[in-house]
Structures are given as C-alpha cells and as structure tokens.
C-alpha cells in the first residue's frame, strides 16, 4: 500500500526525461572507461589515456611513452572493449526477454539460456572443435534452452506464469548443469578442463583479440532486429490475443526477437563465459529511470550494462592481489535485487 502511494505521488514524465537519462548513461559510461583504462598495476593518468586514444583515432603522435601506449591499447584496450560488449549484450538480451515474457524476473541466466550456451560451448571444447564451431554450438545450446523453457511452460500452463517460468528456467538450467558436470568429468584434465572451468566462472582476463573478431560482429548482427523493431517489441509484452488484434504477427515477431536475443547472449558468453545477473539487474534499473517503453529501455540498458560490466571487471582486477571472477560481484549485486523484485511482483499480483 505504501509503495502504491509513493508511486502515485511521483508524476511520471519519463518520456520528457529520456534524453537526459540517455546522455547521463553515456557520461557514466565514458567516465567508467576513462577510469578503467587508467587504473591497475601500471597506473596511467586520465590525460595520457585520452591522448593515446585520440592519437590512435587521428594518427597524430601521442607524445607519451611507448609502454604507456602498449598498456592502454594492447593490454587494457581489448579487455575494456570485451567488457563493454558483453555488458551491453547481456543487458539488451535481458531487456528483450523480460519484455517478451511479460516478466521483470527473467534474464538469460534465469531462463537457462546462459546454461545452454555454456553446455554448447563446453561440448565444443570437449571435442576440440575450432572456435567458430564452439560459437555455433553455444548459440544452438542457448536457443535449445529457451525453446525448452517455453515448451515446458506452455505445457504446464500454470495460472502463475511468473513462477512457472522461473521454476522451469531453474530446472532446465540444472539439467544443463548436469550436462556440464559430466563434460568436466570426462574432460582431459590438462588441456580441456582449465578451458571449461574458465568458461563457467566467467572472466575477462584471458580475452584475446581473436575472440572479439568472432563475437563482436555476432553481437552487432543480433542487435540489428532489436534496434530496428524497438518500438514494435512493446507489443510482445501484451497478452497474445491483444497484440494480434492490434495487427502484429506475434509468432513471427517473437521468433525473430528470441533468435536475436539468444544470438547476442551466446556471443557474449563466447567472449567471457557465463556471467549472471547483469541481464536481470540492468534492464530493471533502466525501466526505473525511463519507464517501460522498450524503445527507451533498450539504449539505456545497453549503455548502463556496458558501464556496469566494465566497472565490475575493473573492480575484479584491482581490489585483490589475484583476480576475482566477475560473476561473484554481479551475484552480490543481483541476488538482493532479484529478491526485492520477486517480493514486489507477488505483492502486486495479490
């Protein structure tokens, strides 16, 4: 009751505030990039970071030492790009899934998509396949997971859709978890097992430019339908009959968006392994800022997701002597947010 009162007393002018929040998100992102490029075991002042970046864009001489240039462009550069891409990808995919399932509680990891992607990738590693094939298997695994969750959810037809989806996702995720455990059991402990473990923990420490060469274009391709249909995607959040009566071919649109969001997720998982919670927390924050409309949620989610992921990774490589897996920090942030959201959803439904 108190929450309702609070909402009523705050007039929502999210449409008018959108440009401000978009600009704000971009500024946050730029700030995090500047910090992340600078901090670490070899600190680089922000001025030098800016000079190196400017020089690499324009081709003029940066006027900084070569080792500074190498740290910014070769050591931290790829890692920063990877974190930005993965954060934007997971947040955009999460926003899309939440919209499609009419549910603020779903995200790539909770739906089992990340688990499916991971199982696909682990299978690829187990058979020593080339990286493109691992990528393809990861995508297939993700698509399989979302298909399975949807099919089981439709078959159960529980009258509480939220609970059905969340529980189905957990069950499907644990099934994939068993598959992954089996893969680890039979993997070669010297070559394959470390690679598998790395994937499952999630990390940006081993990101190589060749990983980005495959994954970045896939993320870009997945983003195309999401961006082009960013308004129409709103219609998927309505009950099917309503959306169809408004003139949408729901089945076709949903298929396109599921494939796009899963492609984006699997490419993100291919870069950095399974990193949970980003796809759940960031879109929720974006909706709090700019309202539910997807054309506004998508860009703000992507910008904030990129900033959040980079911030997490920067913390991971600076707060302790050894690197922390980013999933630890995202879980620390994500778990309480999920619990609060779950409570709010059930209170609203009552």
């Amino acid at each position: 009751m108190r929450a309702l009162h609070l909402r009523e007393s705050t007039p929502i002018v999210s449409r008018a505030r959108f440009p401000a929040w978009l600009a704000g998100s971009a500024i946050v992102l730029a700030t995090v990039v500047a910090i992340s490029m600078g901090v670490g075991s070899f600190p680089v002042p922000p001025g030098d970071v800016a000079r190196v970046l400017w020089a690499s864009l324009t081709g003029v001489d940066a006027g900084v030492a070569d080792n500074v240039r190498a740290v910014v462009l070769q050591v931290r550069g790829p890692r920063v790009v990877a974190a930005l891409a993965v954060g934007a990808a997971l947040a955009a995919a999460g926003a899309s899934y939440q919209n499609m399932f009419r549910n603020p509680l779903v995200s790539p990891d909770i739906l089992g998509v990340s688990g499916g992607c991971a199982l696909g990738a682990v299978t690829g590693i187990l058979f020593s396949l080339p990286i493109a094939a691992i990528q393809a298997l990861s995508f297939a695994g993700g698509l399989g997971a979302v298909g399975l969750v949807l099919a089981i959810g439709a078959w159960i037809r529980g009258h509480d859709r939220v609970l059905t989806l969340v529980l189905t996702g957990v069950v499907v995720g644990s099934l994939f978890g068993a598959g992954i455990a089996f893969a680890k059991y039979v993997a070669d402990p010297y070559n394959q097992l470390p690679a598998i473990t790395f994937w499952l923990l999630g990390s940006f420490s081993g990101v190589l430019p060749r990983d980005l060469v495959y994954a970045l274009p896939l993320i870009a391709v997945g983003f195309v339908p999401l961006v082009l249909m960013r308004w129409r995607i709103n219609l998927l959040s309505l009950p099917d009959d309503e959306a169809r009566a408004l003139g949408v071919d729901v089945g076709k649109l949903r298929l396109v968006i599921i494939v796009a969001a899963t492609l984006v997720t699997s490419a993100g998982v291919a870069i950095a392994g399974v990193i949970g919670w980003v796809g759940l927390v960031v879109p929720h924050a974006a909706r709090l800022l700019v309202g539910a409309e997807f054309a506004r949620v998508l860009p703000v989610s992507a910008l904030l997701g990129a900033a959040f992921m980079l911030l997490v990774d920067t913390l991971c490589r600076t707060i302790a002597r050894t690197e922390l897996p980013p999933g630890v920090i995202t879980a620390l942030v994500g778990t309480p947010v999920f619990i609060v959201l779950l409570a709010a959803t059930f209170r609203k439904a009552r």
């Binding site: 929502i12 449409r15 249909m229 308004w231 129409r232 009959d241 408004l246 003139g247 071919d249």
Partner: protein, 260 residues
C-alpha cells in the same frame, strides 16, 4: 455493414460450440451479447476478430472476408477491447493508446506526430487525457478500461468488439464506461459487446443476442429481445423486466425474482 457473420460455425479444433450463426453489425449500432458462463461468447468474439479460424461459414469486416486479410488489415477494420487486467508492463496511458496505431505503422516504424495526436484525442474522447502520462498501474480499473477503449479508437477501426467491458469495475466506473460506449454510436462506430448484466444491455444496446450453449436463443431489437421470459429461459432463473421512472425518463430494469 461493418462486421458480419454468415452461416458461421465457431469453436476450438474440431469441436463446434455454435453452428450456423448469422449476424450483422451496422455502423453506429451497439449489439450486446448475453449468455450464461460457457455459452460461447468469448469463442464467438475471438472468431469474429479473426483470432480463431471459422470452422465453417465466413466472417466479413468492411465487406471483406477475414480469411483474405492480413493481421494488420483486420486490425484496421475491427478493434478489440479486452477485459482490463493488471498484468501489463507499466506503460503510460499515452504509450498504451499509441499501440493502437500499430496496424498503420511499418514493421520498423515508431508512432509519429500524427499517431501521437490521434492517441491523445482518443484519450480526450474518453475524458482521461489528463492521465496521459500516468503509469497504467496508478490509475483505477475504470480508467484502465477507458484507456483500452481509447486504444481501440486510435486504431480508427469502424467496428469495436468489447469483451465484458464492465467486468471487475465498481458501480461508478461501470456507469462511466457505459456512458462512453453510448457516445461511440454518434461517431458511427459499430460496437459489439458482451456483459453478464442485462441492465447494461438495457442501457446501451440497440440490439441484443441471447446465446445459450452456442445457439442463438433470440436476436433482435433490444426492447423485444430483453424480456422477462427470454431472460428467464437464458439464465434458468425467474427474471422480471420492469419499468422505472428516473426523473421523467422511463428506463427498463431487470430484476431476478425469488422462488417460483
């Protein structure tokens, strides 16, 4: 003729709920469907909206067979007003009504200035333009229902099908919604609605269809169809229709009578 069914068999899969229904809905007319739970009202409406394929016979909108039309083409002819549910994402009322413009927009398009104006004037016609920027979750059930009617108006369809527009509303909101429905007639819009309250039909309907087990019990002018004996047969209880003088105008009201 805005919306019509010809020798229509409707139902799910192979199971027909109703057979051989003939129905026409003219511009500026309100047709009310009454029937007990399970009489097939929702199934009929879904068929008339093209959401469920006709088992046999045809449905036409604006003179064209629904079979031959795309989803967007159907949406430009017949609009749907569902029962207001609480399960929406928290769009503002304006954003919700702008979704009524979908069938006029290309796959990659967003509502433009004209679409926003149309949505706003639809909200104005429903008397809730002041709430345009409020999230759906913060308005009353009646206002939400009016917003759904505004969304139907924004489609510019000539027929509107409403599934129990007064369900789950309090007394005052029921009356507000009925008043706005009556006003749609003057704009030449054809309205097909169903309700569980015969009094609502007496208030707004020009014609009425009484549906029992998928079969039409009676179809015709509201004044001749909505009688005590007909309603008694329809619901299986004793119903009397009486006249009430309300400040000089005579209104017909419906009362269940106890016992024999």
């Amino acid at each position: 003729m805005s919306l019509a069914a010809h020798a229509l068999d409707y139902g799910y899969g192979a199971r027909a709920i109703g057979r051989g229904l003939d129905l026409t809905l003219e511009a500026g007319e309100v047709l009310c469907v009454l029937g007990p739970n399970g009489a097939g009202k929702t199934t009929l409406f879904r068929t008339l909206l093209g959401l469920l394929p006709a088992l046999s016979g045809r449905v036409t909108a604006g003179g064209q067979d629904l079979h031959a039309l795309s989803r967007a083409q159907i949406a430009r002819e017949v609009a749907y007003v569902p029962q207001a549910s609480a399960s929406y994402f928290d769009f503002s009322l304006a954003e919700m009504v702008e979704m009524g413009r979908t069938a006029h927009l290309g796959t990659f398009a967003r509502p433009g200035k004209r679409d926003r104006e149309l949505a706003h004037s639809a909200l104005e016609r429903m008397g809730i333009a002041a709430l345009a920027d409020r999230p759906v979750s913060t308005v009353s059930g009646g206002e939400r229902q009016l917003a759904l009617i505004a969304r139907a108006l924004a489609t510019e369809a000539r027929s509107i099908v409403m599934d129990e527009p007064t369900a789950n509303l309090d007394f005052g909101n029921q009356s507000r919604v009925l008043t706005e429905i009556a006003r749609l007639k003057s704009a030449g819009i054809a309205v097909l609605l169903c309700t569980h309250d015969p009094d609502h039909a007496l208030q707004v309907a020009d014609r009425a269809l009484l549906l029992k087990d998928g079969q039409p019990l009676a179809l015709g002018a509201a004044s001749t169809v909505l009688t005590g004996p007909n309603l008694s047969t329809l619901y299986g209880i004793n119903v009397a229709v009486s006249q009430l003088d309300v400040g000089g105008t005579v209104r017909r009201v419906c009362v269940p009578t106890m016992g024999a």
